[in-house]
Point group: C2
């Protein structure tokens, strides 16, 4: 409350000057802060028992001096003085948790010369960049300004048609109406999680699993519970006990070319998984982000194709099979899940970029995508074989790794109880990058496993990388082997 | 539990056939469901007191018949029978709420011939589509495959530099490091809300306010509390009482070219607002989505420029000033808010599309954006004036509307107690679309106001639309005037 005391004394000067002076002092000592509102002329005149004109004169003087500003109908505000005091805005506790997780991510520093076996981003040397550019340019020319409006929230119908057509190739029959396009499968993950779970709820995730989904859960305030991975996919017994808990709202799973394991589950396992989910009445989010990248082996139908329950959301992506920059993913679902995903997508960011959707539609329709895929799979077969051969040659005796039928990743278990996060700095220094297993564990506990990828490195680089890795592991094994620290597999 | 009873009788046939037969029957009557796991050979043999080979023989026979499948290390699963039963997956309660909101949105049906005064999407007839296409094509040619990788999560540095340069023009000085780019300002709204508020928290929003932010809050499980709008912006007294409540985590406000009101707050009001927020220690999200669209009047610095507290997130957009299809927005913030926004953006969808970011950077750098803006503002001045003139001419006596200094929207208050949502179908039939006021109220309560926009219609169309609207309103006023139903202003 503004304190003003008036002196009825000729020497004190006119009353309006006394009022103005005392307000001026209050501003100077910051008892009145920038932006504060003064009492109305009527209020102050009544409080001080003076004529309204007297207060008005005082306010006019302050306004002339630029200390206050009167706004019709709103009152008079302090416009001078030290700005409002800085304060630390309180972040949502979910964000604080996310920042902790963020700080724990491995940093590779400036390791440009090192062989990149850590990343599952496809190799830019293989992008059909010029062909895509031409398609995009043609589509923009054809589509004109209309293509620069907000898109249909569900995604360009033409692209949904092309994606539906494409999904037939992996045995998934959906109509364009059952597809909601999104901003990469990564956005699809966030939306699918939010579709079923609200902060405080629990999501069943494989362990190890894709590290980004752990971050997404954290950012959304979702707890996770780990379903251990066995030879042929997640443990169905643990799954059943887990999904039976009411607070567990969904399962997120990667049945084909698992990240980080590289494994693919059998038809029988998929059917068993769907049966468990149905018995528990819980939906399944199937991340099929690398499904176009089969190198060999017999294709296995995705969960969404086998499903008879209507409880599966299938996430498809072009980020790994074409390039991430196209930023198009697709969510396939049935029944009211479609409308719900659509409303959620729209409430998140209104719509995606139609120019890129039209470019991708053109690229799919022309057969350019199929051509690119055939080449990419051929190159990846060579790379996978080169990496596996080199690992067999260079890794110390007792190291184990699998043979993926597609995708980009190979999972390696080291023979000695080495924490691969501790191994990483030496490997970087020696010239090879890998993804330590800990980052795929829910609790980031140490792991003696690591994920290698043949996405980014060519055959010669893969051999070099494997040789360097073998050396570093062997050296560490000798040094640390007898410490026999306990780390998880 | 699988029930098997064995008969030790020669006529009953060999034991393994009895086991296989009973399992077969259980599958047929669906006591054993598709995907279920059979007991292990060891378990069942112990339970039945038979030799393991006997059980193995039974399982072999079932496998030959395609009824079960054995997977090494995982057990034997039922692979035949009716699929898992359909169930209704339970959606998050937030999504259910979002779907209710979604159903309440006005539908304009097939009103292609009607004058579009309802939409604040910029007019495609004014898009510099060809120039942008050429810039994009050039950038893609120059950038090649590297531009098709995942982008820097914070957004292309080059574009952040260009945006920082551009923001100087609206008196906002930020470094490129203080900008996080996003997928349109609409994504910026979601991220900024999530930065400070977690489900169950309360967000202070103006009333009326941008309807999408109401949907975004709903989808995020955030409650909203209404700060009434006065002549010169939101009610600062109500704001102070509201932000003082601990469960209220932030204020979202549109100080310039308010949506839906079209009003712009004064410098004094902005400083007062910041002072209130600072006293309460609560952050402010400033949506400046139309700030490039000033037509006349004296520019007022954005809150982020006046702020001395570090508690403002400023959202800029190119969707209204260029076109929505570019899907680029920018979030400007200070201190640790930047890293937090970045982590949140990354956890949501990894990164944005670099091709479009590079295209926009080129467009800003070349001066093409500034040129487009100058033209757009000139055209909008003509449209605004035409609309206001036509409203004065055609709206019945007593209707009130304001004169926006920029942006696209004009707020109209009708003289009679007409619920403008009920007016809409007649207006659509008569050939004009508008946005009824109810959709901008937190509780969607009826309103006798409506939002008109001069974004999409040219001067002739605006005059025609205003004439039709005047007719429809006059007709309704006569019919409904004496009902004197209470609707909010």
């Amino acid at each position: 409350m503004l304190e003003i005391s008036l002196v009825q004394d000729r020497n004190a000067g006119p009353v309006y000057r006394q009022i103005a002076g005392q307000i001026r002092s209050a501003i100077e000592v910051q008892r009145l802060a920038l932006g504060e509102r003064l009492p109305t002329i009527r209020e102050l005149s009544e409080r001080l028992g003076v004529n309204r004109d007297t207060v008005a004169l005082a306010y006019d003087e302050l306004a002339r001096d630029g200390l206050v500003e009167a706004t019709v109908g709103r009152g008079t505000f302090i416009t001078a003085g030290a700005g409002a005091r800085a304060f630390e805005p309180q972040l949502s506790p979910l964000i604080e948790r996310l920042l902790v997780l963020e700080r724990a991510r491995p940093r590779f520093g400036s390791a440009d010369a090192a062989v990149a076996l850590h990343s599952v981003v496809p190799d830019p040397r293989l992008y059909p960049a010029a062909a895509f550019r031409k398609t995009l340019n043609r589509e923009l020319q054809k589509g004109g300004a209309e293509l620069l409006l907000y898109g249909e929230p569900q995604g360009l119908l033409r692209l949904r048609r092309a994606v539906a057509e494409h999904l037939k190739g992996v045995d998934l029959v959906v109509t364009p109406d059952e597809l909601v396009l999104c901003h990469g499968a990564s956005q699809g993950i966030s939306l699918a999680l939010r579709l079923f779970a609200t902060p405080g709820d629990v999501v069943a995730l494989e362990e190890p699993t894709y590290n980004h989904v752990l971050a997404a859960c954290s950012g959304l305030g979702l707890e996770t519970t780990a379903i251990p991975m066995r030879e042929d996919g997640l443990d169905l017994g643990v799954l059943e006990r887990t999904l039976a808990r009411p607070e567990v709202k969904l399962l997120y799973t990667i049945p084909s070319f698992h990240n980080p394991l590289g494994t693919t589950t059998s038809l029988a396992h998929r059917q068993a998984l769907l049966a468990v989910a149905a018995r528990c009445g819980k939906p399944v989010v199937e991340d099929a982000y690398e499904q176009d990248l089969r190198i060999d082996g017999r294709p296995v139908a995705p969960l969404a194709a086998l499903d008879t329950t209507g409880g599966v959301v299938h996430l498809a992506s072009f980020s790994k099979s074409l390039f991430p920059g196209v930023r198009v993913g697709a969510m396939a679902a049935r029944g009211r899940l479609v409308g719900a995903l659509l409303a959620l997508k729209q409430s998140s960011d209104l719509s995606d970029a139609m120019p890129l959707q039209a470019g991708l539609a053109g690229f799919l329709e022309s057969g350019d995508y199929a051509k690119h895929l055939a080449r990419l799979r051929r190159v990846m077969r060579g790379r996978r074989d080169a990496l596996l051969e080199a690992l067999a040659q260079y890794l110390p005796h007792g190291a184990r790794f699998n043979r993926p039928e597609g995708g980009y990743q190979v999972w390696v278990e080291l023979p000695d109880a080495i924490d691969t996060s501790e191994l990483l700095p030496d490997a970087v220094a020696a010239g090879v990058l890998f993804a330590p297993g800990a980052q795929f564990n829910h609790d980031r506990r140490p792991s003696q496993c690591l994920r290698l990828s043949y996405a980014m490195a060519d055959e010669a680089e893969l051999r070099e990388g494997a040789a360097v890795l073998g050396e570093v592991v062997t050296r560490h094994g000798r040094a640390d082997g007898r410490r026999a620290q306990r780390v998880s597999v």
